[in-house]
């Protein structure tokens, strides 16, 4: 290659040469003496490593905040990254920094640069001023505090950080980070890095990606790297060859027709949230409960399906929506029902040389839907149980019932027995109570660090009861557990 690989950090070109391909963007930045971004957990939970990345927004750009600990530095070849140091300095505080400093938003200061980056991303969000939004709890504000959901602070209790965010006005169009957004973001660079610890490839198009997959049995596919990064950091996994596909245009299709919604596998969850704009209400219930904004900015739909985690949050919803997957390889494309896709714990129908190109949701959608996620923490947590329900009730009878489950078996699965119990029956408390008991027996929940098996079963049951009460106009009470139910 003639072009040398490098990342533009705070406006200066920083060469990637000499770094192992498993170097995270965080370690790369810290190795450059930019120690503002910190490692707090190395798994995308705490946000101390958050940085800004320029991403396309139509013909313009947007500043997107990401967890630098999870992504390979090489994936940012040719890209523009801004750290807390690049947002402002001690003698020239940026408005975000000034609000944070003056309002007591920092105590120990370790999480602060990450908060500043998340807050700056929202500060510059192009549609912020007009959109307005709410976190569902606090009053409506033009600053969506959900932008800070992926940053943990152990000192402040968050109130002063919230106040700092809500005190922000609109950016000065002349400020450098603001004016930068008028120009397009860098296109993805075709990158090939060979280092002693492996090979890193960002192919230019789908054909190249598929060729690599066909030729190299050891190739590991990475998209947003929010799952792979955890494997690297916490479990010491290494790959002889990484193939990064998150910017391939062919995987970023978004199409709406009368028959179906097609969602490109490499679209990030944040992009999907924006593109769908409420057209699939069930998914709208998923997004705010799916990890955090920092993760959703990187994580792709294809990644969440392809890793086949039993506790991923999009699979239950897409199962209830009866989605299909489009799998592509050098041999052609095939469409498989998502319900058939998961074959075992983190195993799927995807062949080694295939990529998930898109997920397709058939229309019309069911009228009564609910995504019921149970976790220890109210937000930014992993599901103990996730239940997605999509029901059609006509003339007092359940016409169609589709229920997707997560966290109760080795794979995400459809609650087929429950669906069968509901369909064709009158929509009454009696039907609901009967079906809820069937639902409680679906899957094979286990006791683990997140929840007990008994609680998981109870949550399955209660998911249907809640839907009946809150959206189905029925009054039912959860039956109490027998003597076996629940440890004290």
């Amino acid at each position: 290659m003639t072009r040398s690989t490098a990342v533009t950090v705070n406006g200066a070109l920083r060469p990637l040469a000499g770094f192992p391909v498993h170097t995270s963007l965080l370690d790369f930045l810290r190795g450059q003496g930019l120690t503002g971004a910190k490692e707090g957990c190395a798994e995308g939970e705490c946000g101390a490593c958050a940085v800004l990345v320029a991403r396309p927004d139509g013909a313009r750009s947007g500043w997107v905040a990401l967890n630098a600990c999870l992504v390979p530095a090489a994936a940012y070849d040719g890209q523009e990254v801004v750290t807390a140091e690049g947002i402002g300095g001690p003698e020239r505080l940026h408005p975000v920094q000034r609000e944070m400093a003056e309002r007591g938003g920092s105590q120990c200061g370790y999480c602060t640069p990450g908060f500043v980056c998340s807050m700056a991303a929202e500060y510059y969000r192009p549609r912020r001023a007009t959109a307005g939004s709410t976190d569902g709890v606090h009053s409506s504000t033009p600053f969506d505090v959900e932008a800070l959901s992926g940053n943990l602070c152990r000192c402040t209790g968050y109130r002063p950080i919230r106040d700092a965010a809500l005190a922000l006005g609109a950016p000065d169009p002349a400020d450098p980070l603001s004016s930068r957004l008028a120009a397009p973001a860098p296109a993805p660079a075709a990158t090939l890095v060979s280092a002693p610890d492996g090979l890193f490839t960002r192919p230019t198009d789908l054909d190249e990606a598929l060729t690599i997959l066909a030729d190299d049995p050891g190739a590991t596919v990475v998209a947003g790297s929010t799952d792979w990064g955890v494997e690297v950091n916490l479990r010491g996994r290494r790959a002889s060859s990484l193939v990064v596909v998150d910017r391939l245009d062919e995987l970023r299709e978004f199409e709406l027709t009368d028959e179906a919604v097609t969602l490109g596998a490499a679209l990030t969850l944040s992009e999907l949230e924006r593109l769908l704009a409420g057209r699939v209400p069930l998914l709208d219930e998923v997004w705010p409960q799916f990890a955090s904004r920092l993760i959703r900015n990187g994580a792709t739909l294809g990644g969440n399906l392809g890793t086949a985690s039993p506790i991923g949050d999009t699979p239950p919803a897409l199962l209830a929506l009866e989605a299909t997957l489009l799998l592509v390889s050098g041999r052609g494309e095939r469409e498989v029902p998502l319900a058939d896709f998961f074959t075992g714990y983190r195993r799927t129908l995807r062949e080694r040389d295939e990529l998930i190109r898109a997920a397709r949701i058939p229309l019309p959608l069911s009228s009564v839907v609910c995504f019921h996620k149970v976790a220890k923490r109210r937000a930014d947590d992993i599901s103990s149980v996730a239940v997605a329900l999509a029901l059609d009730v006509g003339d007092g009878v359940v016409r169609r019932a589709r229920i997707g489950l997560g966290g109760v078996a080795a794979t995400p699965l459809r609650a087929l027995a429950t669906e069968g119990t509901l369909e064709g029956r009158p929509w009454t408390a009696e039907t609901v109570l009967t079906a809820a008991e069937v639902l409680a027996a679906e899957g094979t929940p286990i006791d683990d660090v997140r929840a007990s098996a008994a609680y998981r079963a109870a949550m399955l049951r209660n998911a249907l009861l809640r839907l009946a009460v809150e959206r189905g106009g029925l009054e039912v009470r959860p039956p109490t557990a027998g003597r076996s139910g629940g440890a004290t």
Partner: protein, 789 residues
Amino acid sequence: MSRLSERPEDGPAGRALPHESAALHVTGAALYTDDLIGRTPHVLHAHPVQSPHAHARVTDLRIAPAYDVPGVVRVLTAADVPGVNDAGVKGDEALFPTEVMYAGHAVCWVLGESLESARLGAAAVEVDYEPLPAVVGLREAIAAGSLQGGQPTVERGDVGAGLERSAHVFSGETEMAGQEHFYLETQCSLVHVDEAGQVFVQSSTQHPTETQVIVAQVLGVPRHAVTVQCLRMGGGFGGKEMQPHGYAAVAALGATLTGRPVRVRLTRAQDMTMTGKRHGFHAQWRVGFDADGRLQALDATLTSDGGWSLDLSEPVLARALCHVDNAYWIPHVRVHGRIAHTHKTSQTAFRGFGGPQGMLVIEDVLGRCAPLLGFDPAELRRRNFYTEGQSTPYGQPVRHPGRLRAAWDQVGVTAEVDRRRAEVAEFNATHTHTKRGLAMTPVKFGISFNFTAFNQAGALVHVYADGSVLVSHGGTEMGQGLHTKMLQVAASALGVPLERVRLAPTRTDKVPNTSATAASSGADLNGGAVKDACEQILTRLEEVRAGRHLTWEDTVREAYLSRVQLWAAGFYRTEGIEWDSTAMRGHPFKYFAYGVAACEVEVDGFTGAHRTRRVDIVHDVGDSLSPLVDLGQIEGGFVQGAGWLTLEDLRWDESNGSSRGRLLSASASTYKLPAWSEMPEELHVATLERAHEDGAIYGSKAVGEPPLMLALSVREALRDAVAAFGPERASVDLPSPATPEAVYWAVDRARRGEGGHVVVGAPGIQPEQPAPGHPPLRPRSEQHVGADA
């Protein structure tokens, strides 16, 4: 007003200022220990070899394979230790153990050119273990009699007679889990050795002196050969009071052996599996009330889960016993304490230091007994408050109990508690699947180290001939704003603008023999020392001025030219305190900090998920030294306490499988701390008016720990909400932490009309009493500094 508490009117003390490093924090310019790595050439990285077993004998250790890994420079083992192979002050914490005592225990350490090579080198080390039986659960340890350390008892009056005379007697058990500190910055040390053999340790430590002591102990050198510096910490919360020492010693050992700088920085998983946490506690109690709901007698036995070694378990236990009374007068008391020995991390200091655990016991007792007595819990609490002239079970008069009542009444008014109680009742009457609860709880927290000797501090104040001032003191900055307060104290004491004063990093070669920055005492102790140093200088400058009106700069210049000393070492010791830790009696605390919180929660009956709708706090910080800093401590402490009580869930594998004893929640994805979503939706914090503290610096009070315990109001509000799912006047048991699952099962029991497990009447549950000849808390057991002398 004392001289100590007398505050100059126009100084910066008392002004609401941002954290002194805020501009550095927000720009990423603030440096933490690990940020120095890139500025340190040729640094070596360390990685531990961790035991998979909770308890095992190391029968063979083969390090040769590690040297086959490219980049591995050195493997550190017990054979390399020139001094004492112990990371603690009690001789029970082998740095390189031959018997591993918990899953994750480091057997040896590998140094590499990169962290990756050290990691791979550690994976190549071969260790043979002979597994031994492991005690993991606290109840299991109690049943097996697996105890360690002293067994103190706080006693007053005649508990037996008190219970006999009580109109109502109840008994029960209470258990609470521990808590991971989860400071965002994990443990980190960077050590280099200079040409003269001076060991320079940069460490994220709350206790630089003790880090120095342990490094010197391991290296077998006098303390003057070791200097420890702490720039700042990314959070401490007690977790860096004793825990950093061993890691600093490993880095120091590596640096002396290789001649190169060595960095030890724990990953989050290592930090969670290797370092101590808040103690979980188990309590058995018997309590008597008179017909009017007044506490008559409390007989209790508290057992803490100390983990594999003692470190701070004894003083933590002592503080727990000294806070079982919380804000309540109990005429007859006998509270006995024990420390379980388990094969887990060595549990240690954590904000509150046993106080929260002790208070949880009495609040649990009151919350569970109130319905059985037919009392509103808030009324039951209030009528038992201390009044003037009463003293604690350990014999200390309770000064200013009226301030607690004032705070209680103020919260009642500002939070509109009566009106909102009616609203909650109305809401609950009209909602089947969601219930709300409202509760008020008080805090009375003793300020000072129980162990009297620790209540001393030093400072070094330099005035340079240009009039600029450099302040060094023995306290460390972990985000609590101590340095901000010390700047304010120095500028106020000298009568100079804040901009003229700069604060130097904490170093053991500036101020020696310091106490830990702990027990909320940092500002009280170091503030006293800074003020003393400033006043020495000021006295000399007054002589130079001789009544003339000279500017600060002119005075300083003239003083220099007149050969007047422009620097001073300040010293402070807290007066009027004494403590007998064998008898568990005395006057250990300089004063009490008071606070009251009212909390309203909502519980979802389908899942047990809950949210905090509103919190109102009135807290006593005396005359605040730094109101913005204090507000941050109150709010942050409250949320951290709420995390302990309602969310944070340490899970250890208690099965008999091969992973027995391992911490299952050893990552940020399995151990959840309060996030954005747990912030109280409404949070109103006020500080108590007219709260001047005569015995402390500028009339202020310590604020680091006490607000954490205000979060007991969340737990009691949850109990109130859960009760609303069941029949009236039922007693509700609530596990701690009250996670959604725990609350769900509590709701389930309430719906079934199943009451709690409080035993009504005598004899009930008899708290286990110490066996004859049990060890008392050793008189010097809290004295860990200098324990090797």
